[in-house]
């Protein structure tokens, strides 16, 4: 148990986010459960320890750029009481309230429509610059994937943001090293990824993306006027042993039997 979360409350919430992800994936028969489980700890820390959400009109923003991990965002928003009660229950179902990839008109707290990779990140930069121009204390957090990091738009934004002194931006790289059909580190010249961001002028930190205390420490670090990149080393499917670091859980569906097995582990 980490010292900052002495009651274990955030850890319990991360567990509950994972349980809701499994439930949503099972009910809907949709894919990307491994991608959603991968970033559950980051979203638990953000929504229950970091984001300032009251008053809502002056809230901090979280932009999920890897929009295919939508179930994790829906679970965190549901657990935070930001979504309408029951809204997440009809995820990905006919006439349901929430789609598989993010549509900002479908629910409160879905800040940016995202699904195609390499979009939300750049929108987040523009949003952060706008808030800075308005001298707002609101902060912008964004989360990108390692597969997403192969998009050129990511590096266009990476090259531009430091010039603007966007120290109100914190970007997480959910580095689980498993994308749709392989490992990022094998598909391209991915590492040393934190050094790449440093070379572009970002304050980059390399942490265990499931260690809440490490995540909090990284978030709290002063960036010296620069935008911040937190390279979060994660495990795809984290929390469910038979999904962890398994390529197939980018697309596999959670059957009733697998749901039961997963829930046993997520106690």
């Amino acid at each position: 148990m980490s010292s900052h979360d002495s009651s274990g409350e955030t850890r319990r919430r991360a567990l509950e986010i994972r349980r809701r992800i499994i439930d949503m994936a099972h009910r809907s028969g949709s894919a990307h459960v491994g991608s959603a489980l991968s970033c559950a700890d980051i979203l638990a820390v953000l929504y229950f320890e970091v984001l300032r959400l009251r008053p809502w009109e002056n809230r901090d923003y979280f932009v999920l750029s890897k929009g295919h991990a939508a179930m994790c965002l829906y679970a965190a928003l549901d657990l935070s009481g930001i979504l309408e009660p029951g809204q997440a229950d009809s995820y990905f179902l006919n006439d349901g309230a929430l789609p598989a990839h993010l549509d900002r008109f479908t629910g409160r707290g879905i800040e940016v429509s995202a699904g195609s990779l390499g979009h939300g990140f750049n929108v987040a930069l523009g949003l952060a610059y706008g808030l800075k121009l308005r001298r707002s204390p609101q902060a912008v957090y964004a989360l990108i994937g390692d597969g997403e990091s192969q998009e050129g738009s990511i590096w266009e934004g990476a090259m531009f943001a430091p010039k603007l002194g966007l120290d109100n931006v914190t970007v997480f790289l959910d580095f689980n090293n498993l994308q749709g059909y392989g490992r990022a580190t094998e598909l391209c010249s991915f590492e040393p990824v934190a050094d790449k961001w440093r070379a572009f002028g970002w304050h980059a930190v390399d942490v265990d993306g499931h260690d809440h205390e490490a995540l909090c420490d990284a978030i709290a670090q002063r960036s010296g006027g620069r935008p911040k990149m937190i390279v979060a080393r994660t495990v795809k499917g984290k929390g469910v042993s038979f999904m962890e670091d398994q390529l197939v859980w980018h697309y596999y569906v959670v059957t009733a039997e697998l749901r039961a097995r997963a829930m046993e582990e997520l106690q």
Binding site: V112, H119, G126, G152, S153
Partner: protein, 314 residues
């Protein structure tokens, strides 16, 4: 026309502190004064169009009225998906300002021509499309775009275009009747205006008087206003510096299928295909039948057909 548009944006920005201009390393000299007076409301985003379009969406979410400026391929083509997902899907009021419409940059080469942009815009719901013919319409387009609550694309040529409207008080959302006439209507938009007007002047000298209508608002097309104007026509000729298959010509063809019209449609424009000829704008217009001479010849042929039919009936 680009300066008329940007100057109008800058003039309106004096009362609108939320106006913010993004340039993609384009517009030499156009923003010099604004950069001096309002340095915190201008950014050169460099040669990074995807970032620029996404960034514009984010700035708009923060409450800014973003005017994004670049040549058309770098406004719509390179970053199509950012325009689609980040700006249009999210219905954010970004003003997409594209320069170099049609073949106005000829002989710069096909990479720098914009003869399919209207076709691309037709795939983008929520997007309003304006193609002004002269500085008066460009200024009206600026005023409209800064008031809009959804994205607007403004299609502009380059600079030095003449003025055709006789007064500045126009409603840019309506068809602009520049000459009342009979039998044949000429519909057009944007940079080919000087050819159309020269053709109309030549025809006038011969005693021919077609109806002449500019359509600065192409999306959504003001069908209810346009259809009655064409009611008495025998022929409608569309003229544009754009592929006819996905521009005004095809819009009017679609209109004709939805309404009971008594006229025949003739579409003039750039023929489908990549342009490899090294010719300036004037010569390319001639080659594609949208020079003043080409347009006048088409109208003469249609009026002649009518006259011949009359003679036959007698």
């Amino acid at each position: 026309m680009r300066s008329s548009f940007i100057d109008a944006v800058i003039a309106l920005s004096k009362e609108r502190p939320e106006v913010f201009i993004l340039s993609g390393d384009a517009g030499l000299g156009v923003f010099d004064q604004f950069q001096r007076t309002d340095p915190h409301r201008f950014l050169n985003m460099g040669v990074a169009e995807q970032n620029m379009a996404g960034f514009a969406a984010g700035l708009a979410m923060a409450g800014f009225r973003v005017v994004l400026y670049n040549i058309i391929p770098f406004v719509l083509y390179r970053c199509y998906e950012q325009v689609r997902n980040d700006i249009c899907y999210q219905r954010l009021p970004v003003v997409l300002t594209g320069i170099g419409s049609g073949v106005t940059y000829a002989p710069a080469g096909m990479t720098h021509y914009s003869v399919e942009d209207l076709g691309i815009c037709r795939t983008l719901p929520n997007l309003t499309v304006l193609s002004p013919i002269d500085p008066v319409e460009a200024r009206a387009a600026a005023a409209f775009a800064l008031q809009a609550t959804a994205p607007v694309y403004v299609r502009l040529p380059k600079r030095g275009e003449p003025t055709f409207h006789t007064h500045g008080d126009i409603d840019i959302t309506l068809p602009q009747v520049l000459q009342v006439g009979a039998e044949v209507a000429l519909l057009f938009h944007g940079s080919v205006a000087e050819e159309v007007i020269a053709a109309v002047e030549a025809l006038g000298a011969e005693g021919a008087c077609p109806l002449v209508i500019a359509l600065p608002l192409l999306q959504p097309l003001a069908e209810d206003a346009l259809v009655p104007l064409l009611a008495e026509m025998r022929h409608v000729v569309t003229v544009e510096e754009h592929f006819v298959g996905c521009g005004l010509g095809s819009l009017i063809a679609r209109l004709a299928t939805r309404h009971h019209v008594g006229w025949r449609l003739h579409t003039l424009g750039i023929a489908d295909g990549f342009i490899h000829e090294i010719q300036d704008c004037r010569h390319l217009r001639q080659r594609h039948g949208i020079s003043a001479a080409g347009i006048a010849a088409t109208v003469r042929r249609l009026l002649g057909t009518r006259a011949a039919a009359r003679r036959k009936a007698v």
